[in-house]
């Protein structure tokens, strides 16, 4: 019997690293590469497209000034409030419609063309019509944002509802789980990934749209301030204001949605 050289154990998948050092340094390295390449790109653009793209240095100064200014923080909280209000409402309304049309063929046949239409209407149209209907108070912006964002949420949730495991529906039927229990324990958990994606989407979209809303119909807020700076061609301030808000939105999403996600998807390993 030939003796075996025990030299070549099976190689294993690097994806299964559980080495924290490696993870942390990977994160760090990734961040460094990403940020430095973005900065480089930015710098090149700021030279190539002279007055339009501000230099990173100018922008940093502007960011610092903004952080110290009270009017910036006034705008900031105002916009954040608007984003949150419409994000939450759009998520709830959109998810409810998504579940309804995912579960009910009739509702889907009826609502789907309307949703497709609602998705199609350009945002400025919503905003303008909302202002003409509700006046220029907070209501108009809120309504416009909510109507513009909800259909996206519905779409995502609907696909997920339709892709659910029918086996579990049958299980619930057999054991006569009450509607409420079926909904909470079987349907919603299957939708969690989609709901999180939809939440992210709604959050990102609300912020994108709030800028347009405020630029068209609101005298205050981050969006208005960005457009104010833009009309004055102060591109560094446009960049500064946007960057601060972008970073905060990102931190918020990571912190809040990320934590929720971890908790809800614990069972997946």
């Amino acid at each position: 019997m030939p003796d075996l050289p025990l030299s070549n154990p099976i190689m294993f998948h690097p994806a299964r690293w559980k080495n924290w050092n490696a993870v942390v340094s990977g994160k760090l390295l990734g961040g460094v590469i990403a940020i430095s390449s973005i900065l480089l790109l930015w710098y090149v653009l700021s030279i190539a497209v002279k007055p339009w793209v501000p230099t990173p240095e100018d922008t940093v100064v502007a960011i610092w000034k903004n952080l110290l200014s009270t009017s910036f923080w006034g705008d900031f909280w105002l916009t954040l409030g608007r984003v949150m209000a419409s994000f939450v409402t759009a998520s709830i309304v959109g998810a409810a419609i998504g579940i309804l049309i995912g579960m009910n063929e009739k509702a889907e046949a009826f609502l789907q063309p309307l949703l497709a239409l609602a998705l199609a209407v350009p945002d400025p149209v919503y905003i303008i019509f909302a202002i003409l209907t509700f006046g220029t108070g907070e209501t108009a912006g809120f309504v416009a944002l909510t109507i513009a964002v909800s259909p996206f949420v519905s779409n995502i949730v609907r696909s997920s509802v339709q892709a659910r495991d029918i086996g579990l529906d049958e299980m619930a039927k057999i054991y006569r789980l009450p509607k409420r229990v079926f909904f909470r324990q079987s349907l919603v958990p299957q939708l969690v990934p989609a709901l999180l994606t939809a939440g992210r989407f709604a959050f990102a979209l609300s912020w994108k749209l709030v800028v347009v809303v405020e630029s068209i119909g609101q005298p205050d807020g981050i969006g208005a301030s960005i457009f104010h700076s833009f009309r004055l061609l102060r591109m560094r301030e446009v960049a500064a204001t946007a960057i601060i808000f972008i970073v905060v939105m990102q931190l918020l999403e990571r912190g809040v949605l990320g934590r929720i996600e971890k908790k809800l998807l614990k069972w997946r390993d």
Partner: protein
């Protein structure tokens, strides 16, 4: 047949574009030796359109905008005046307001605190009545066109807007000017009033095409000559109706009426007027309104800038 082309732009719906319409309608461009391409663009992106070089001459920039752009490093300069302040505060027929002071605490529509229209009205009111509209009024913001239905629906008690939307608003609400910027301010100062729009071009375009710049200026001179000599009746021509998007005969009547009381256009580019305008800008920057400092060369004369006609 082989004339050099010039692209000229103005804001859609604004009377600032009328001289361009006349140039086109009456063939003044060909007459002065250039082939005009006239573009009327929505208010939203119009300045940007010019700054990225998609048109050679903009007829719709106020000196504030030029100052701001120069300060940010754009080589653009105003080389001739165009529109007087054909703008102001409009209230509907039944309004109880007699002066801008009566609107304090009321809802007023405008299309942007950083627009030339609002800035001019704001400075003028500040100077004449001693208060800041941005603080005293409750502002609603929509585009210049949308202000008209906003006023009509009663959502706001007054609007800050420019012609021809002013005329539209007056007709739609049986309204009137509460403040006519040019008229009221020049009465107040006893002569000087800034003007709203200029002919603006990029510095290098001017230097490369001096004779074209002169030609456009000449065409403009003749266009406003036509306006004045016809007592503004030329506005009734179809190409103007279409160009401005006038919705009814009644609006046109008001538009002509308004022009008679405050001439829409000027070609007074005297050193005194330029100096007064520079002083006005200095004052704005000192008050910290919109601009921080006034760069050189916001306003030039072609003679100084590119030399006398060849």
């Amino acid at each position: 047949a082989d004339m050099p082309g010039v692209t000229l732009q103005a804001v859609a719906g604004s009377v600032g574009g009328v001289p361009l319409m006349i140039m086109k309608g009456e063939g003044l461009d060909k007459k002065y030796g250039f082939d005009g391409k006239f573009e009327f663009l929505p208010h939203e992106g119009v300045f940007q359109n010019f700054l990225i070089g998609k048109s050679d001459i903009a007829m719709d920039n106020d000196i504030l905008g030029v100052a701001i752009a120069r300060d940010e490093g754009f080589d653009v300069t105003a080389f001739y005046p165009v529109g007087n302040l054909y703008l102001g505060i409009v209230v509907p027929g039944g309004s109880e307001a007699k002066t801008p002071e009566d609107l304090k605490g009321k809802k007023v529509g405008h299309f942007g605190a950083d627009s030339g229209t609002t800035t001019f009205i704001r400075t003028i009111v500040q100077e004449m009545y001693g208060f800041d509209v941005l603080e005293e009024y409750e502002f609603s913001q929509v585009g210049p066109a949308a202000l008209v239905p906003l006023l009509k629906s009663g959502e706001v008690e007054a609007i800050f807007d420019f012609e021809s939307f002013v005329s539209e608003a007056i007709v739609a609400t049986d309204g009137h000017y509460l403040l006519q910027a040019h008229k009221d301010y020049s009465e107040f100062t006893g002569g000087f009033a800034p003007w709203i729009t200029n002919m603006v071009a990029h510095g290098d375009w001017l230097k490369e095409n001096p004779e074209l710049a002169y030609a456009v200026r000449d065409a403009y001179d003749e266009a406003i000559e036509i306006l004045e000599s016809t007592d503004y009746e030329v506005l009734r021509k179809d190409y103007i109706l279409e160009g401005l998007g006038i919705t009814s005969e009644a609006v046109l009547d008001v538009l002509i009426e308004n022009a008679k009381s405050t001439p829409y256009f000027t070609n007074d580019w005297s050193p005194e007027k330029i100096a007064a305008a520079e002083a006005f800008l200095d004052k704005l920057s000192k008050d910290g309104l919109l601009i921080e400092n006034v760069p050189d060369g916001v306003m030039v004369t072609l003679e100084d800038y590119v030399g006398p006609r060849s």
